[in-house]
């Protein structure tokens, strides 16, 4: 009872005292002088380890500028676009995130998404609202390039006619080709192509197929698998009958790549497996079991193992390990680079004496040119894509990723 009286009195006092009011106004002022960067990544589900690492990267970039550009405070919020029901990104949640970002006028930049399918949902919304979106991980070609995805892509994501979507990772048309070239290089001839029937998986599998035809790999079959199936033993039998010496799976850890790898082994199929960057995370090794991947599985990735980064990238790697006491996952540096590019744009606005808001940040991020970051020196091209084209082919040795080839 005493407590409640005290609290009521305090409330009354707060309402009455002009001094307190003054402080409140000051606080509001400080808030007005702040802008927010948000990220929308799948935080629930097996991508969590990967996305935690990316969020750490973003936080590091903001901490490096002291959380401030000029006298503008940079706030950051880490949003989840997954739901426990799906254990993976959820279209409804991603749509909510985009709406939330639009409604909150202090949001000036949106880092995301992780999954290309999710990007399709937020891209047109944020485009209309004029908020810059920088993705650390979307690789589906159709999001930015005409003629590689659906007929109406990418115009459908740009209702305002302007480009607001940028990405720091190279796209799947390149990634699929790198995988096909590598398959040929190690002497594989007959390939069975699978995809997970998602935007990303279908896209990269399509790119692989196109390149495989070009360079004369024989395609003995294609199929789309059910990511929630309990196993793929029957499918593996079909692949075995087709006589494939390579299985290409366009999919991610979340769409059951680990189970597929296991069933290839248990079904007695003596074929290699190549998977794209959606599997370049430790969760994939955990799900598949190191034994099923050893000397059998190759993972392409639009970049290099964090350990092999050079220059500013090497600094990032060292700082990351020092700050978080763990090894960064493959995409941590991309989260970092996204935030860095956005912060650099804000810095340029500040130097030119402009006000940091949605419109200026959008315009300035687009002008990123010869940016010297952790991924090397790169620019955003006219589509919003990075000019960086580095890819690596990795395998799994003794339960750890190990790079076998780097393609520039």
């Amino acid at each position: 009872m005493k407590h409640r009286i005290a609290r009521t009195a305090a409330t009354l006092l707060a309402l009455a005292a002009p001094a307190v009011l003054g402080t409140a106004a000051l606080a509001a002022d400080a808030l007005a002088n702040s802008v927010k960067i948000v990220s929308s990544l799948p935080r629930t589900g097996s991508a969590n380890a990967q996305t935690t690492s990316m969020v750490n990267g973003i936080k590091m970039a903001i901490a490096e500028v002291g959380g401030k550009i000029g006298d503008t405070t940079i706030l950051y919020e880490d949003w989840d676009d997954a739901s426990p029901q799906r254990g993976n990104w959820d279209p409804a949640v991603e749509a909510q995130n985009a709406d939330k970002a639009i409604a909150d006028t202090s949001v000036v930049a949106y880092i995301g998404t992780y999954n290309s399918g999710a990007a399709k949902i937020s891209m047109p919304k944020l485009n209309t609202a004029g908020i810059v979106m920088v993705s650390p991980a979307n690789t589906a070609s159709g999001l930015t390039k005409a003629g590689l995805g659906e007929a109406n892509e990418p115009a459908v994501y740009r209702p305002s006619g302007k480009i607001n979507y940028f990405r720091v990772v190279p796209t799947d048309d390149v990634q699929g080709a790198v995988a096909a070239d590598y398959a040929k290089e190690i002497g594989l001839k007959k390939v069975f192509i699978l995809n997970d029937r998602e935007v990303y998986g279908k896209g990269v599998a399509g790119a692989f197929e196109a390149r495989a035809k070009e360079i004369g790999l024989e395609i003995v079959g294609t199929d789309g698998l059910d990511a929630k199936a309990s196993n793929y033993k029957s499918l593996v039998t079909k692949i075995k009958q087709a006589g494939a010496d390579l299985v290409y799976f366009g999919g991610t850890t979340q769409t059951n790549a680990g189970q597929l790898a296991k069933d290839i082994v248990s079904g007695g199929l003596k074929a290699k497996l190549i998977v794209p960057d959606g599997c370049y995370e430790n969760a994939f090794i955990e799900a598949a079991g190191a034994k099923a991947l050893q000397d059998r599985c190759f993972i392409t990735f639009g970049g290099v193992d964090p350990k092999l980064l050079k220059g500013k990238g090497a600094e990032f790697y060292e700082n990351y390990k020092k700050t978080y006491k763990t090894e960064p996952e493959g995409y941590a540096v991309y989260g970092y680079e996204c935030a860095k590019a956005i912060l650099a744009a804000m810095e340029r606005i500040h130097k030119a004496g402009g006000k940091i808001d949605r419109a200026t940040v959008l315009a300035e991020v687009g002008k990123t040119k010869d940016f010297q970051g952790a991924l090397g020196t790169w620019s955003f091209d006219e589509n919003g894509d990075t000019t960086n084209r580095t890819f690596s082919v990795n395998t799994v040795k003794n339960g750890e990723f190990s790079t076998v080839k780097v393609v520039q």
Binding site: T44, D223, K228, Q241, G258, G268, A283, E286
Partner: protein, 325 residues
């Protein structure tokens, strides 16, 4: 591989997968037969059984009773039976507890209320599995990323019983499914048909009020039903884990969906119906993967279900029954 070999292989896979589905389906059909509730939480009870099994294996590994490096070199039948019993009992008593806490107070409520309660329990269990997955179980490389699929160690030796050169693969785990599932099914059938409690179950299924009038303790019958249904679900989760070598917090979703479909296909409420339905769905899946395309498999399974329900609305072995939800 010749056509015959391919067909044989798909039959093996179809039967193995189908048996697991059938075990889970029995849990649905038994509970439905007695209390007319579609227990949507059953699939998730199954999930927790898998997690318990992994925790037990992990604990044995941590206590140095099992050696992670040599575990898969030989077959551990005793461990397998131990896991089936442990996970079975765990799931059985969990099922009984859920009934006591959630379903029993709602027994006289409208059927829809119970159904929604079951869905609610399902969500709770999925999230418990999610937390459980976050617990450290790294002994066998399981990792502690909550939502990641966990690698379940091989406890049966994995070589091909038909010889390494044979195109058709038959492994101990395929056999184990038959060796464990078939006795369980026979035992259940005998139990229901030959024992006093089994007779009580049949009576309660036919008419609960009349059964009570005849002096049958229906509460006890219901508890026994949940216990047995849960036990079979737990046993199935261990079979599932050793067969797929993966468990995840979502494994109950698809397993439950398939099993529920199997129960409806066979005629919900009918025990042999659930067994036949499960095996049938396993076979249809395998054949569709092989002869149609994997991407069409779900369409084929549910297409068959619809066809059967059009011609036999109460399922393959279902009887015309009182109106149920």
């Amino acid at each position: 591989m010749t056509e015959t070999e391919v067909f044989l292989q798909q039959v093996i896979y179809g039967l193995s997968n189908g048996m697991i589905i059938a075990l889970v389906a029995l849990g649905y059909t038994m509970v439905y037969g007695i209390v007319e509730l579609i227990n949507f939480a059953h699939g998730d009870v199954f999930t927790l059984g898998g997690f318990l099994a992994l925790t037990v294996v992990g604990a044995l590994g941590a206590a140095a009773i099992l050696d992670p490096n040599t575990l898969s070199d030989s077959s551990h039948w005793l461990l397998l039976v131990g896991l089936v019993v442990t996970a079975g009992l765990f799931c059985g008593f969990l099922n009984v507890a859920i009934d006591k806490v959630v379903y029993k107070p709602l027994r006289r409520a409208p059927k829809l209320t119970q159904l929604v309660a079951a869905i609610g329990v399902s969500f709770i269990l999925v999230n418990i599995a999610l937390f459980w997955g976050g617990a450290p179980m790294e002994v066998f490389g399981g990792g502690n990323a909550a939502a990641a699929s966990k690698d379940f160690p091989e406890i049966l030796e994995g070589s091909n019983l038909l010889g390494e050169d044979s195109n058709v693969v038959l492994r101990l785990e395929d056999l184990a499914i038959f060796v464990i599932t078939i006795p369980l099914m026979i035992g259940l059938t005998l139990f229901v048909n030959r024992t006093r409690l089994g007779r009580g179950m049949r009576a309660t299924a036919q008419n609960p009020i009349a059964a009570r009038l005849m002096g049958i303790n229906t509460d006890r019958v219901i508890a026994a039903t949940f216990l047995i249904g849960g036990f079979l679900g737990g046993a199935a989760s261990v079979m599932w884990a050793i067969y797929n070598n993966t468990i995840s917090f979502q494994m109950g979703f698809r397993a439950g969906m398939d099993a529920f479909t199997a129960a409806v296909l066979g005629g919900i409420g009918s025990l042999p119906g659930a067994m036949i339905g499960g095996v049938l769905i396993g076979l249809i899946r395998a054949m569709s993967d092989q002869y149609i395309e994997t991407r069409w498999t779900n369409v084929v399974v549910f297409g068959v279900l619809i066809l059967i329900l059009v011609f036999r609305p109460s399922g393959l072995l279902g009887l015309k029954q009182r109106e149920k939800v």
